[in-house]
């Protein structure tokens, strides 16, 4: 698909894209790095939300602030900021998630001179009425704080317009995943990765146009499915962010494919819809509470395993690959119990612990090949 080339270029260098966007449109760019960032509020303020990933350069400057046992995502993003690569940001927001990001926020506030800095101290549990009320209060405060920082007033109408746009994006991304479920050849795994990632980087209106075109082409192409190919093994990718997009091609090269994911840069990003009726802030909060939970938040003791099993069933998957960033506590704590839940159902899984740097590709390939061998014998 012709759109994919453009997206690949953008997702390959988000920092450069956002800089260009800022220069050509004059839009204020607000950085964030977690799927609990209320993008709708930022967008309603007329600003552009940009998810940061870390450009994977050598860590030199961040070393004077973060020890070596810090995850590469946080080290990478801080490195970019200290190197001045993000100096076009008008502001940076920090929704509260893990211990590492919590401290990154402090370090950022003390060391990165450019832009304003806002903390969104979300509740850690999401399963009580009081926590939900607090979440709503926090989002209201954020709306006020952001309005002040950007010297604008964010009206309910603005919020509803943004919610509609984002609902549209979410809806279409869900369609992409749905269509691929029955026919994975409609879009390669690598393209799916770029498509979702671009949603967190690109100007959202332009993005929606591209996304709709992609969905249209996919819909036209359904029916031309090659059924032989569809008997390939189907896998779920689970973790936080996918920092190794090559995994999609690696899996496809060995005759399988990623049929669905449980990633915060994947389906967790676009799951759920936001109601356009009633108080928009309450509606935004409701989505976070209903959405599949991130391991840094609490929603009962077993909800992630339940979700994962549901996803496996829904995608008719044969196995799961856990792709976890080294030093990421919340995900590492959940892995044993998720694995156990899969074991119980006789579902095999593979754990890949990665760092956000060009990985020893060959090694990853060998492990995936071996994993698929065991799958085939099942």
């Amino acid at each position: 698909m012709k759109q994919m080339k453009e997206l690949a270029g953008i997702t390959g260098n988000p920092i450069a894209y956002a800089r260009r966007l800022q220069e050509t449109s004059g839009k204020k760019i607000i950085g964030y790095m977690c799927s609990y960032a209320p993008e709708e509020i930022i967008h309603a303020a007329g600003a552009h939300p940009l998810r940061l990933f870390g450009s994977g350069r050598n860590i030199l400057l961040a070393d004077s602030h973060l020890q070596s046992y810090c995850c590469s995502l946080v080290r990478g993003v801080l490195e970019d900021a200290l190197a001045g690569n993000l100096n076009y940001l008008t502001g940076m927001i920090f929704p509260h998630t893990c211990d590492t990001v919590q401290r990154l926020s402090d370090i950022w506030r003390l060391n990165v001179p450019e832009g304003f800095h806002l903390d969104i101290v979300l509740p850690v549990k999401l399963d009580t009425a009081d926590a939900c009320q607090y979440l709503i209060d926090v989002l209201h405060r954020f709306r006020d704080d952001l309005g002040k920082a950007l010297q604008t007033k964010i009206s309910d109408d603005d919020l509803r317009k943004s919610i509609t746009l984002y609902n549209n994006i979410r809806n279409n991304l869900q369609k992409v995943y749905e269509l691929r479920k029955s026919n994975p050849d409609l879009l390669s795994g690598r393209d799916v990765y770029a498509l979702v990632k671009a949603a967190m980087i690109m100007d959202r209106e332009s993005y929606l146009t591209i996304l709709q075109a992609v969905v249209g082409e996919m819909q036209k192409a359904t029916g031309t499915a090659d059924n032989k190919k569809n008997r390939r093994k189907r896998l779920i990718l689970s973790g936080g962010i996918c920092s190794q997009p090559d995994i999609y091609s690696l899996v496809e090269d060995v005759g399988a494919h990623i049929a669905g994911d449980d990633l915060c840069t994947g389906s967790r990003y676009f799951a759920g819809q936001i109601s356009v009726n009633g108080d928009p802030i309450t509606a935004i909060a409701e989505r976070y509470v209903k959405r599949v939970v991130c391991p840094a938040k609490h929603m009962g003791n077993r909800s992630r395993a339940e979700n994962l099993l549901h996803l496996v069933k829904d995608c008719h998957a044969d196995g799961v690959i856990f792709m976890l960033l080294k030093f990421c506590d919340p995900h590492a704590f959940d892995y044993p119990y998720l694995k156990k839940a899969l074991d119980k159902e006789g579902l095999p899984c593979l754990l890949l612990e990665v760092e956000d740097q060009p990985q020893a590709q060959e090694q990853m390939k060998t492990r995936i090949e071996a994993f698929l061998e065991t799958l085939k014998t099942l």
Partner: protein, 414 residues
Amino acid sequence: MAEGKDPEKEKRKIKSVKKMKAIMTKYYKKAKLAWLTRKKIAWITSGGPVEPLIAMNIIPVYPENHGAMIGASKMGVDLCQKAEAMGYSSDLCSYARSDISCAPAKGGPIGGLPKPNMLICCNNICGTVLKWYEVQARYFNVPLFILDTPFCHTQFTQEARQYVKKQVEEYILFLEKVCKKKMDHDRMKEVGRLSVEAQRLWQAVLDTAQNRPAPLSAFDAFFHLALIVTLRGTRQAVDYYQELLAEMKQRVADGIGAIPNEKHRLLWDNLPIWYRTRWLSQKFAAADACLVADTYTSAWCGALQYIDENNFLESMAEGYSRIYLNIGIDEMARQVIQMIDKYKADGLVMHSNRSCKPYSFGQLDIQRIVREERGLPSLMIEADMVDERFFSESQIDTRIDAFMEVVRERKSGI
């Protein structure tokens, strides 16, 4: 052993140590026999609100205190490896790892902790405890109460205060439900007062280290901390710290220091390295350096300013939210500098503890701020509090020597 009879060493020994050991042994015995007395057991995080448990006659048990015991008895590596065999990454907090594997293995120095009837998790120290207690809630299949204390980067907001206050009410309801009985509010008030009194006494004990020579060191404080963590809110804790305070005052009057020849005074940051406290204390003592204070043990009295002893439950929300680990780095640095001034420290020793990310990330900035504001030399020791595999003796030995050289030079230069 001849060592025991050395009069110089005898003089320096803190007499209360014996008593403390007896109290803790009895406490764990009682906890392990709780099933006989039909008392309920709650596992609770170290920064958690224990007072309502005491008021409800529930025995609180602290996996983190247990973790410290595991570390001190050098059983950490084995248990951590067992956890890794269960699938837990070696990069996770070693308290959590050793506790998680200890439960099914019944390992550790006391054969495992008594089984909980409920779990109380307060995330004012870290996000690790949330995940850790989820693991245990699944394992033991018991109710889990989470007291969520929003992080105070720069402020404790009005909505956060309300949220925590509401949760304190829920907490009481939760306990009443599990225990099938009402909370006795008069008793609760009494427990609140005793807790505040114990915290004040603990602060007073730590304060005696302002004297030269300091009658106790941070290594002593690590040991005597156990009661303020596990038994605050009881009369026993108050009595004990009164005695300890009296002993410290006597030592000050007699001019007895924690180390034989105190020339340099240092401040310790982060958790102790439990399996090497003796080695480290001897190492520093040999350089005539006394670690006179630390940020860790003072965390159990640092939020006193927010607590109203006559209105404990009401003020608890703020007290438990604004503790040392739940605040921004700049505020932590400010408190470190206050301690440096208060205890007249000549240097800062930081334990970069790979187990504890919220305590360790930000240390490099605190170090810089301290250097800029007080020009104090500092040392960063890379290690882990329980997992000995991350301790390199020769490297740390050399670094301490080099650091002490700087401390000496700086002082002779003034």
